[in-house]
Symmetry: D2
Subunit: 318 residues, 4 copies
């Protein structure tokens, strides 16, 4: 990671970052053995209220179709092989079957996926101060993706920053501040509250659809994301989970010496489950049509014991 | 497939089977180009009603944890490799990441998955009379798993046959009749209706947990499932989708000359989306506690273009 | 494939190509059931002579290191995952092990590999007139890569065209004629003879090393290779196998309506085992030092039943 | 690993084992940075002599066909998927291609493979005293399989123990002593010498072919192999590499507290390249016919940067 800083708000020093880490930390909040973090904010009442948002019965996928073609943001494309097709139909009698095989990195760039809390460590510690030695080449022994076995069910709130700004998308390197998130709330007439799943739209996928894929890493053009200070808002509001297009990060980072400050603050400090590489193109349209930016959200990672993440297909239900 | 017949009701001839195929066929019902089949029964009203069942806010996974160990019912275990762990932590600065890779057959035995309608053909035809030539080694060009991109959302109804019979599980080869499904409805105080997702429990997974895995194929001990005639009930009631433990089939089959009659009738004739290898052990307990066998169900396959199926993690929400 | 023609000798019509196919065809030459094709030219005497070329005891790999990074000529990079490393050393006692996993397309572009004779068909036929129906999604039932189970052992002859021309490499689209092959023989003081393995250097890999990878397919810049007519020479001389850098093809092809004429003539017509994507950078240096362009060659594909090809690491021994 | 001891010679204590480790150690012998170990014994003269053994021109594979079916000694079978077959022939014009994909653990049980020297560590050290920290989840940075890029070429000597004993195979748990190796030499009229590749036959694969696969690990029935003391002979004789059926180990081990003593002594102490799971069924027959147990051997692992091992197909040439 270079020391290059982004185009957003003034840079944060490593020292300020570590203070922010402490401010938003949830270590110990739900006990020394907690492995669910901010998902603890989702109560039965919250889920009931989320279900009550289902009125028109429309469901909308938030996933990008799995991309099997290598490109500047997809260096390890998914392997999808057909393993049985109908050319062999005379061998087996009836019926005939078609089958296939899928292989993919669980955190594949530009593949919609969700991170387990064991995915990120800071200074040798995982969320809740757990040691990194619990995650070895034999798999994750703690805070693996099966912590989410029964799925995430709750109220989703989309804050659509390009809509607020009146642009098609944010440009790489732009960072969204807490103030702007609050402005988006006002503009949409919603307010992130306890247990809510926060969907954050920078227009990353829209840009990709229109301009083509680009290298959005530290050795490339970068991407738009959150300003690290905005974590204070998510912390105060008791947000339960974070679903962005892109991955929430501003690249290059505005924090000196920390390459992925949003991942560190959300996952390691707050214990907030985060996803990566969603798309909100269909969702944004439906929100406009329904004139509401809140809905029921359901996200169900695969039950992969020892896994650090999972491809998934989260949906919004209106 | 052997001509061996199962332990259930009297055998059905191939001719009777073909007549049954015609009786329950939905070819043309939703137009010549339909690729959603019985999912068309799910209306906005249905989804709204399903969401209204969310009262206690409990969610329950219906998936088996992904099984990476070969066994008599898992000849192609999932490949799960850790690709980055914290032993390399001094190379990259902060933060550190753990990552992994998952490879798996989309219809892996004993892996919870869902079938696209292109997965099964009968006499050279897919559902709605479409030709098998649309599914080649380059992928499925029609009725692939992305037909389910926005997920299945609806009312789920569990018919728990071991509960009805007062046994822990059905034995391999036993077939459940329409009469028994109706008895289970009465016993549970529910009734399968238009748009409902039918969860069918034989106790297959319970048996596996207690006795260990067994070869449940035609070259092995077989498995418990549905009597082919019971498809008439699902057809009349306008069931939208089918989620079984096991895969719904009685093995050996009670139909002469047809190895997977349930797959053929549901997928090819009716256009009914079916899943495979779920587990209802947690669900059955929650149903008893909640004293209801109906709930909201959400199932979201991966968005895999050209795919014939997908691992997934469906959930019930109470 | 476009109808675009290459930069080499005048174009060949489809009709002329089909005549050439007949001229060089070996169908029936070694019996109706032969599946070894031109490898039949390798006699015990030939192998003994090849071994007699081993004088200095140097061995040289002809393979490119396996490339795990996507690029313009590597759209499906190999998947190489470490599956056990020494961070888990306290769990198992002594000793400790490190392990890994490799997944790769058997004909991956820019991965050194060898083709089985079942890899290419022309007008519905494989080599020796065998039907394509023998190769299905269940694997190849005839002429699979296990035909080469015991390896290829023989005399190798390198014809180094850039050396002849006094250039670093041939440019994409350039086709090498029979005349030029004969000139290279004279220049090097060798002559391709019965049973010889023909190593053909265009400098493809040298260009890649110096200028970086490029899209060398029909939708890209193309590549240098053989003129289709030069197959007559290989046929007359009774060459046993073909090991090129690139894959022997001139892209775009100089044959109207046939995208891979060299593959068709060598594999389908002649039954000549061909490899793909070798590198001769080390070899060319050793040849200069040893002042000879002939050596023992040993190539041993993996024993993959039903396989259409294999990654491999062929070597020259001096 | 259990403390259970094998059926062979008296057990060796951990202390005696550590003394043996020192006695056969080659650490420092070829310099502090050596990564080739006993392959240094192979001289140009040796290779020339090996090639001079090629008289009849027969080549014989020493590999087991790749096994895609799970079983008691194959818990992670190779993934072999056809990715293009001739059912799509009308889409692309001529010619048509068939292609496939292979994924496999590099040290898959019952898959013929070779170990890099980085594969085994003892008390935190690799061969030559190198630290295990050079092998991480990012790959092996030292002594990876590319150390063997140019292949192993030399004289092979088969010591066939079942032949000596007049049995079809050794039973699991039986250990072969130095004395018995010397007896086999006499019986066959050969003598292991400097630079020789030692092929060691216990009949493991023959037993597997006749009785079917069995669990040969510490939690199973075990296997026949070498007595740890016999390493003294290989050390004195300056053997360059070791190719066994099975993996050379007696399981359970006759060394207290060390589960894989042969691996530790050969790879970690001696720097001897070892292979695993070869078969000598064809070879043994040819040796009898040729009346000699020495031949040229060529073994060429894939050039996999960072790899700890590789599937391969070694051959003997007579």
């Amino acid at each position: 990671m270079s020391g290059k800083l982004g185009k957003g708000p003034p840079a944060m020093s490593t020292k300020e970052f570590d203070e922010l880490f402490q401010q938003v930390s949830n270590w110990g909040r739900w006990g020394a053995d907690d492995s669910r973090g901010t998902l603890n904010y989702i109560s039965p009442t919250h889920i009931r209220s989320a279900a009550a948002l289902v009125r028109s019965g429309r469901s909308v996928s938030l996933a990008i179709p799995i991309n099997k073609v290598a490109g500047p943001d997809n260096s390890n494309p998914a392997v999808h092989n057909m393993t049985l097709t109908y050319d062999t139909r005379f061998d087996f009698g009836e019926p005939q079957f078609a089958m296939d095989y899928l292989g993919c990195a669980c955190h594949g760039d530009c593949h919609t996926h969700i991170d387990a809390l064991c995915h990120v460590s800071y200074k040798g510690k995982l969320y809740n101060g757990k040691p990194v030695s619990g995650v070895t080449s034999q798999g994750a022994k703690l805070m693996d993706i099966t912590t989410l076995a029964h799925g995430i069910v709750g109220r989703g709130v989309l804050l659509d920053i390009p809509r607020l700004r009146g642009v098609k998308w944010l440009e790489p390197g732009e960072a969204v501040t807490q103030k702007e998130l609050e402005d988006a709330e006002k503009s949409e007439g919603v307010r992130l509250g306890e247990g809510d799943v926060f969907l954050f739209r920078t227009g990353h996928h829209r840009r990709r659809l229109e301009l083509g894929p680009w290298n959005n890493g530290y050795d490339g053009e970068g991407k738009a994301g959150l300003d690290a200070r905005s974590m204070r808002l998510l912390h105060e509001r008791k947000v339960s989970a974070f679903l962005p297009d892109g991955d929430g990060e501003t690249v290059p980072s505005n924090v000196e010496g920390v390459a992925y400050p949003i991942h560190v603050l959300q996952i390691t400090a707050m214990g907030m489950t985060c996803a990566d590489s969603l798309q909100f193109e269909d969702l944004a349209k439906v929100c406009e049509e329904e004139k509401r930016w809140e809905f029921m959200v359901v996200a169900t990672p695969l039950r992969l014991p020892g896994g650090t993440g999972s491809l998934f297909n989260p949906i919004a239900i209106f």
